[in-house]
């Protein structure tokens, strides 16, 4: 999406109607009408699609560098080096991979619903409620039951809580076509406030976070390596979801319902059942992410536990065209830039929110470039009428 394209497209690409000033009287030669119009591309080769995206990301990186230079005065190449160091520098790589794993998990969670064209933007809430359920189990029983039992209880609670949070809007969507985007959006804040409620009950001091002092140590580290368990779970999950969506009967039904409800009816799929089943799955995986965040990573819970990942995940999944394997790349891109921008802001003493701006810019470019993959822009000069005077 270059600047020239922007300016060429901005004036009315929709209109393919010819201007009305061409109604001319007899014996006058008709004019030639320039027109911009769009057609949906029948298909693009993988090469073209990748090329467009690479160009968009490159353009975004250039713009980000320019902005960074303005704020830091540093030379652009050093900035790129700083970004790389921020993400994969000494002692950072593992944290980066863990951040990726968590974001990837949430992105995987929203994907089945999106493939069904169910716009679940409630992942944030589903993660939070899963985290809350985990925290509650830990809070209640971390001293009274053995660790294995506790872990199983935590996991079950998180999965069920997430599933319920996904199920509620799904039932209404299936039964009454209640707008799922708005419904799931509101559910996020209900979950958030429930967590705050829990915080107030669990910790009378009025703190914004309840941590391991009250929750215990949750899930022990796998082989003594911090975060390893989470990373392993997510690696498995990627494979599992990839197989589920591509090779299972359920996955096939999800695709058919998403592409055309009419076709689904024609071959006898129970559309309501598929919607509800898929949202239970989607919510449960979000709950799993909540379990990993609270039970296996931070051992603490707050209303910021999901940290906006529920929203970022929507973009990750969408950018990857709802393909679990592609999501590894898009997650990498987002986390890499965010951590790099964090590093820049630390070194140059900028505000932490710098990374949000950088992430936003990159997203805008990738979102925008899809247009050039989906549509073909024609600028033709159509001859309206070639009639000489009689």
């Amino acid at each position: 999406m270059s600047e020239e394209n922007k300016s060429a497209l901005q004036p009315e690409p929709l209109k393919e109607e010819t201007p009305s000033n061409t109604v001319e009287t007899k014996r006058e030669k008709r004019g030639i009408l320039p027109e911009i119009h769009l057609t949906k591309r029948a298909g693009v080769t993988l090469k073209e699609a990748i090329l467009v995206r690479v160009i968009a990301i490159a353009a975004a990186l250039v713009l980000c560098a320019i902005i960074t230079v303005i704020f830091t005065g540093d030379n652009p190449f050093k900035i790129y080096a700083t970004i790389v160091r921020g993400a994969f520098g000494k002692g950072r790589g593992w944290v980066t991979i863990h951040s990726m794993a968590i974001l990837l998990c949430v992105s995987l969670a929203v994907t089945p619903a999106f493939r069904m064209h169910f716009w679940n933007i409630g992942a944030e809430g589903q993660v939070l409620i899963g985290g809350l359920a985990t925290a509650y189990v830990m809070f209640k029983w971390h001293e009274s039951v053995s660790t294995p039992v506790l872990v199983i209880l935590m996991l079950a609670a998180a999965l069920i809580a997430g599933a319920i949070w996904g199920l509620i809007p799904a039932i209404f969507k299936a039964q009454w076509k209640t707008n799922e985007t708005l419904f799931t959006l509101m559910m996020n804040y209900v979950a958030m406030k429930l967590i705050e409620f829990f915080l107030k009950i669990a910790d009378k001091s009025g703190s914004n976070v309840v941590d391991s002092r009250l929750l215990g140590n949750g899930v022990p580290d796998l082989f003594g390596v911090q975060y390893l368990l989470n990373v392993v779970i997510v690696v498995f999950l990627v494979g599992l979801l990839y197989v589920y969506l591509r090779y299972s009967k359920h996955g096939y039904e999800i695709s058919v319902v998403g592409e055309s409800e009419n076709t689904a009816r024609y071959i006898g799929i129970n559309v309501k059942k598929v919607i509800i089943r898929t949202m239970i799955l989607s919510g449960a995986i979000c709950g799993l992410a909540g379990f990993m965040l609270v039970g296996a990573a931070s051992h603490s819970v707050s209303s910021n536990t999901a940290g906006g990942r529920g929203f970022t995940a929507i973009m990750v999944s969408w950018l990857a065209k709802f393909d679990p394997l592609m999501m590894i790349l898009t997650t990498l891109l987002i986390i890499f830039m965010a951590r790099g921008a964090d590093e820049i802001s630390t070194i140059f003493d900028l505000n932490k929110s710098f990374s949000d701006i950088i992430t936003g810019i990159i997203l805008f470019f990738i979102i925008g470039c899809e247009f050039f993959i989906r549509y073909r822009v024609h600028i033709t000069r159509r001859t309206v009428k070639e009639k000489e005077g009689e």
Partner: protein, 338 residues
């Protein structure tokens, strides 16, 4: 008498709390009526607020500071900032037909980051020891209104009898009234003007509007930009009036999402958004007044969202056509090749 004063103070605070929501809701209604679900509104409100703050910040530090001009500069820079942010959304979703949800969420990420980044940077510029920027003089100008004590009849028996009424009705800065005026204006525009009719047609059925000769693209751009600018004013009000000219990072909180909730609760009607916003404002502060135990605060704060969900469910179950979201909400329009 004492009870009246108490109620009056409560309503006063509820209205102040509800006003940013009203700006956001009015802006989002206008936007959604064109078929655009702009989830970037929370971000735009941040951008509007910080743009106003930046403009005023540089002006307030100049030697020729006049509070009234400060107000104008704040308003203008706020409008420019939110317009530019809205244009990003418009260009991506209308011209490039990108997914509205994804674009909106990206804009919110960007907008909140933008606000906090520049807010944080300005705090650094001031070398302040506290984590906020104070633009108190402009803030005072924003909040200026006739104080009851200054009225000639304030001390008379009549004066004391109507003080509570004055508190509810007249003790606000101009932006509270502007919010009401804009909501009423938006309502008038949508229901009583030709362009409003065209805009609603675009949101309901863009193909029909297109066939009737209405420029769908232009209307969508117009509604989304105007809506974004109005929402931006909500952010500005929160900083300049409600907070007395003090910017602190993340101070605006999740009010943007609350504004989107109000749109649903007010079933896409700006006139209903006025009471709905004040109701949500009241729910937001109610815990302070009911002497509730601390832990109930979040439950009270949850109410607006629960109520919104119930409203959404109720309208979809009842299926009254007038109360549904605009039919093409969230879809981009593409006139297929004939």
């Amino acid at each position: 008498m004492h009870t009246l004063t108490l109620i009056a103070t409560f309503l006063n605070l509820a209205i102040l709390q509800g006003t940013p929501l009203l700006y956001g809701a009015t802006g989002e209604i206008l936007t959604e009526k064109s078929g655009n679900l702009n989830l970037g509104i929370p971000g735009i409100m941040y951008i509007g607020a910080i743009s106003g703050v930046i403009g005023t910040f540089f002006y307030e530090n100049s030697p020729i500071f006049v509070p009234a001009i400060g107000v104008v500069i704040a308003l203008i820079s706020c409008l420019i900032g939110s317009l530019l942010a809205s244009l990003i959304y418009c260009f991506l979703t209308i011209t490039l037909r990108a997914n509205q949800n994804v674009t909106g969420l990206a804009l919110t990420t960007f907008g909140v980051g933008f606000g906090n980044f520049f807010g944080g940077s300005l705090i650094k510029v001031t070398k302040s020891s506290v984590p906020y920027i104070a633009l108190s003089e402009t803030g005072d100008a924003f909040a200026w209104h006739l104080h009851f004590e200054d009225l000639p009849f304030a001390d008379s028996g009549f004066g004391r009898a109507i003080e509570w009424l004055w508190t509810i009705l007249f003790s606000y800065g101009f932006m509270v009234y502007l919010a009401i005026a804009l909501a009423i204006l938006a309502s008038y525009f949508l229901n009583r003007t030709r362009r409003g009719l065209h805009l609603r047609a675009v949101g309901e059925n863009p193909a029909t509007a297109d066939a009737a000769g209405i420029n769908v693209t232009r209307y969508k751009y117009f509604a989304t930009c105007a809506g974004g600018m109005i929402a931006g004013l909500g952010g500005l009000f929160f900083i300049m009036d409600y907070s007395g000219g003090i910017w602190s990072n993340d101070g605006f909180g999740d009010r943007g999402w609350l504004a989107i909730a109000i749109v649903i609760f007010a079933i896409w009607r700006p006139s209903l958004a006025i009471p709905a916003s004040y109701l949500f404002g009241a729910l937001y502060i109610l815990y302070n007044w009911l002497h509730m135990p601390m832990q109930m605060i979040p439950i009270m704060q949850m109410l607006p969202f629960v109520v919104t969900i119930l409203a959404l469910v109720f309208t979809s179950v009842r299926k009254k056509r007038e109360n549904q979201p605009p039919a093409s909400l969230g879809l981009s329009y593409f006139r297929e090749e004939r």
